[in-house]
C-alpha cells in the first residue's frame, strides 16, 4: 500500500475560508427555499455513513442554518445490519468456524451477543481490513473461514471480485450486504416523511452511476444530489439540494463528477450481479426492505456460508418486541430519542437495540453521550 506522506496536505477540498463562504450561500438559499415553499423547516437526508462521518468530523452541522435539518438516513451498513444476520455470524463462530469481519461490525450485538462477546468466550473471530485479507486467512490457516460481509454495493463489489478471482474451498461468505436505493424508497414512501431532498453516496454512485436515481427522483418528486465526502463537497451538495427544493426541481444532480459518471462502473456492476442478487429482507430499526439485501446467487452456493453451514442455527431468540424500537421514526426526523421507551434503559451504547444507537454518529448515541444535542455555538 502506498500513502504519499503529503497526500492529505494536497487535498483541495478542505479550505475553511471557502467553507464559510459556502455556509453563507447556504443560509441565504435556505431562507429563499423557506419563502418559496411556505415551510418553517426543511429536511435533507443523507444515506451514507461516510457523509455522517464527514459532517461530524469537520463539525459541519454547526455551519448549517437552524431551519435546515440534515438527517442521517439508513446509510451506515453496519448500523442497518439486522440482528438475525449478526446472530448467524455469532452462531458460526460459536460453532468453531473462523468468522472474519470488518472492525466496525465486531462490537455490534445481535439479539444476544456480538462477535466481540463470542471472541471473549473463545470463539474464533478475526478483524480484517478487506475481503482479500479474509481470503488470505483461509488460504494460510487451512481453517474454515466465513467472511461476514457487510457494506453497500461499493463494498459488495470487492466481495464479488474476490469470489470471481478464485478463493480456496474453505472460504465462504455470509452476506449482509445491502442495496441502498430500496431503502431510500422506503423512507420516501413513509406517509409522514418530510424529506425534501436526498444526498446520495458518492462512492456507491461510483459503481451504480448517477442515472440510477433518475426514476426515483421522478417517481417521488424528490431531488437527489450525488455528493462527495470532503467538507466542501458536502456543503456544496447541501446548497444544490436546497436550491432544487426552492426551485421545485426534482432531478438528479451529480456534484461528484470527478468520480461519478451517469452510467457508473459498468464492469464492476457486471461482476456484482454475476455473484449477487437482490432479495427482500430486514434492515435493523427500519423494516423489511423490498430488494434491499444483497445475497449470493445459487451458482455460488459452494461459497455461501448460509448453505455450507445450513446446519448451524443461532441459539436463542430476540428478547425484545420487534416494534419497540422507533429508529425508523427517529431517522426520518419525526421523533426524538426521548420518545423511545427503550432509550437509555434497554438500548445503550454498550448494548444497542436500534441502528441509531449502534453508530457513534447516530442520533440516539449522541443524545445518550451528551444528554441532548449540544449547542456548539455557545463557546464561541
Amino acid at each position: 500500500m502506498s500513502v504519499s506522506p503529503d497526500a492529505s496536505e494536497r487535498l483541495r477540498f478542505r479550505d475553511p475560508a471557502q467553507a464559510h463562504r459556502l455556509a453563507a450561500v447556504l443560509a441565504r438559499t435556505v431562507a429563499e427555499a423557506l419563502a418559496a415553499t411556505g415551510s418553517e423547516r426543511l429536511a435533507v437526508m443523507h444515506v451514507c455513513g461516510s457523509h455522517e462521518q464527514a459532517i461530524a468530523k469537520f463539525g459541519l452541522r454547526s455551519l448549517v442554518p437552524a431551519a435546515l435539518d440534515v438527517i442521517m438516513g439508513p446509510g451506515c451498513p453496519v448500523c442497518v445490519t439486522d440482528m438475525p444476520e449478526i446472530d448467524e455470524a455469532v452462531a458460526l463462530a460459536d460453532h468453531g468456524i473462523t468468522v472474519a469481519t470488518y472492525g466496525d461490525m465486531y462490537r455490534v450485538r445481535g439479539s444476544g451477543r456480538s462477535l466481540a462477546d463470542a471472541h471473549a468466550e473463545g470463539a474464533p473471530v478475526e478483524v480484517v481490513y478487506s475481503v482479500s485479507q479474509a481470503v488470505e486467512l483461509a488460504r494460510t490457516s487451512g481453517r474454515e473461514v466465513a467472511f461476514f460481509a457487510c457494506g453497500f454495493e461499493t463494498t459488495a463489489v470487492t466481495t464479488a471480485a474476490a469470489l470471481i478471482g478464485g478463493v480456496p474451498a474453505n472460504f465462504s461468505v455470509l452476506s449482509a450486504h445491502k442495496y441502498v436505493l430500496p431503502a431510500m424508497e422506503v423512507v420516501a414512501q413513509l406517509p409522514e416523511s418530510r424529506i425534501a431532498a436526498f444526498l446520495a453516496a458518492g462512492h456507491a454512485a461510483t459503481i451504480t452511476g448517477s442515472a440510477i436515481f433518475e426514476p426515483f427522483a421522478e417517481r417521488y418528486g424528490i431531488p437527489v444530489v450525488v455528493a462527495g465526502f470532503e467538507p466542501l463537497d458536502v456543503l456544496a451538495a447541501l446548497v444544490r439540494a436546497v436550491e432544487a427544493i426552492r426551485d421545485r426541481d426534482a432531478r438528479v444532480f451529480n456534484l461528484y463528477p470527478r468520480c461519478v459518471t451517469s452510467a457508473g462502473n459498468v464492469p464492476a456492476q457486471a461482476r456484482l450481479w454475476e455473484v449477487f442478487e437482490c432479495e427482500t429482507g430486514g434492515w435493523r430499526g427500519i423494516a423489511s426492505v423490498p430488494a434491499g439485501n444483497i445475497r449470493l446467487r445459487e451458482t455460488w452456493r459452494a461459497h455461501d456460508a448460509r448453505y455450507r453451514f445450513a446446519h448451524v442455527r443461532p441459539r436463542g431468540a430476540a428478547a425484545l418486541a420487534p416494534d419497540a424500537c422507533i429508529c425508523g421514526t427517529i431517522m426520518i426526523g419525526r421523533a426524538g430519542p426521548v420518545d423511545c421507551s427503550l432509550f437509555k434503559t434497554k438500548c445503550t451504547p454498550q448494548d444497542p437495540v436500534g441502528a441509531c444507537m449502534v453508530s457513534s454518529e447516530g442520533t440516539c448515541r449522541i443524545w445518550h453521550e451528551y444528554g441532548g444535542l449540544p449547542v456548539l455555538q455557545s463557546t464561541r
Binding site: K57, G59, D117, Y129, C150, P374, T379
Partner: protein, 337 residues
C-alpha cells in the same frame, strides 16, 4: 459477566472496572497525598518532608517488536513517563517483573533486555530489583513485563488542576505509537510505515517544570485512549470544559494519511513519548519556548484552552465548525462505513 477487551482499552469501561473492583475497595492510605481513588498516573506518598511518587504498569503488546521500539523500551518508558507527569522527573529506580512463556527465544529476550538497558540510560535511571517467572507453553502469550517506578517530586502535578483560561499544550506529534502497532497488527504494508514515538520524556518534563513551576496545572501522558481520553479525564476531574483547535494539533503527514485510511481519529490513538500539559496563561509562552528548544519538543503546540462552560466536555473547533469529542470506548478498529 466476563471481562472483555473493552475493559482494557483505556475508556469508560476500564475506569468503571478499576473504580468498582479496586479503587472503591481498598482503604485510603494515611500517607497518600494522591491515592488510588484519584485514579491518577501514580500515587504520591508523604515521606518526611518529601513527596514520593510511585507508579506501576503491566506491559503487554502484540507484536512484541514494532517499528520504533519493543516491549522492553515500552516497559521502561511507560513507568518513567508516568512518574514524570506526576512531577517526579528523576526516577530513583525501577523494578521489573518479567513473566515469560516456556519456549520463548532467548535471542528475543536479549533484544528486549538490551532495549530496557538503553531506555534506562536515556532516562537516567536503572532497574534496581526484579523478578522472573516462567509459565508453561500456552499459559501466556510470549512475555509480560511489569515495572514499578519511584521518584521524588518537588512540584506534584495531578490531572485535576485545570482552571478556565488555562491553555492545553501537547509536546509533539500525536498518534505515532498506536498507528505503528495497528499497521503491523492489521498487516497493512505501507511504504513508509509509521514509527512508534516510545521514549522517556522525563528530561523534557523537567524543563517544563523548571520554567513553569506551580503554573503547570495538570499533566498526563496520553497512552491508551490517546489525547482524547487524557483530556476527558483532565476536564472531568478539574470541572472545566476544553475547546480544542483541531488545525493546531500536530500530526505528521504520514500519520494523518494512515489514520484517514483506517478511519481512525488521531486523537484516539495511543502515544508513548508525549505529554498533555495544562498551563496557566502567564507561563504558557515560557513553557512553549523551552519545549520548542528541545529535540523532543520541537513540534510542541498549544492545542486548546479551558473554559468555564460545559464542564467535562471537549469541543473541537475544526476550522469549519465545531463538534463534540467523544470518549474512546473499546479497542480501536478500522471502519468500513
Amino acid at each position: 459477566m466476563t471481562v472483555t477487551l473493552a475493559h482494557g482499552a483505556g475508556g469508560r469501561s476500564m475506569r468503571r472496572l478499576v473504580t468498582d473492583q479496586f479503587a472503591a475497595q481498598f482503604a485510603p492510605s494515611p500517607h497518600a497525598v494522591v491515592g488510588l481513588a484519584a485514579l491518577d498516573d501514580g500515587a504520591v506518598l508523604r515521606v518526611g518532608d518529601h513527596q514520593l511518587v510511585v507508579t506501576t504498569d503491566a506491559h503487554v503488546v502484540w507484536p512484541t517488536f514494532f517499528p520504533g521500539g519493543d516491549i522492553g523500551r515500552l516497559a521502561i518508558c511507560g513507568t518513567v513517563n508516568d512518574l514524570a507527569v506526576m512531577g517526579a522527573t528523576a526516577p530513583l529506580g525501577i523494578t521489573a517483573a518479567i513473566v515469560i512463556e516456556e519456549g520463548y527465544p532467548l535471542a528475543d529476550l536479549e533484544r528486549i533486555r538490551a532495549s530496557m538497558v538503553q531506555a534506562c540510560r536515556e532516562a537516567g535511571t536503572t532497574v534496581v530489583a526484579g523478578d522472573t517467572k516462567v509459565m508453561g507453553r500456552g499459559e501466556l502469550d510470549g512475555i509480560v513485563i511489569t515495572t514499578t517506578g519511584v521518584g521524588l517530586a518537588e512540584y506534584v502535578v495531578t490531572d485535576c488542576g485545570l482552571r478556565p483560561g488555562h491553555v492545553i499544550i501537547v509536546t509533539g506529534c500525536i498518534a505515532d505509537h498506536g498507528l505503528a502497532v495497528m499497521a503491523v497488527r492489521h498487516a497493512l504494508a505501507f511504504e513508509t510505515p509509521p514509527q512508534s514515538d516510545v521514549a522517556p520524556i522525563n528530561h523534557l518534563v523537567a524543563e517544563v517544570l523548571r520554567v513553569g513551576r506551580g503554573d503547570v496545572s495538570a499533566m498526563k501522558d496520553p497512552t491508551r485512549g490517546g489525547v482524547a481520553s487524557a483530556l476527558h479525564e483532565m476536564a472531568e476531574k478539574s470541572g472545566v470544559g476544553i475547546v480544542l483547535d483541531e488545525l493546531a494539533i500536530p500530526v505528521t503527514p504520514a500519520a494523518r494519511a494512515v489514520s484517514e485510511l483506517l478511519g481512525i481519529d488521531p486523537l484516539f490513538v495511543a502515544n508513548e513519548g508525549k505529554a498533555v500539559i495544562g498551563v496557566a496563561p502567564a507561563a504558557a509562552r515560557a513553557v512553549m519556548s523551552v519545549l520548542r528548544a528541545t529535540d523532543q519538543g520541537r513540534d510542541a503546540a498549544v492545542i486548546g484552552r479551558c473554559v468555564d462552560e460545559h464542564a467535562g466536555t471537549i469541543v473541537v473547533d475544526t476550522g469549519f465548525g465545531r463538534r463534540l469529542l467523544a470518549e474512546p470506548e473499546g479497542e480501536l478498529l478500522p471502519r468500513i462505513c
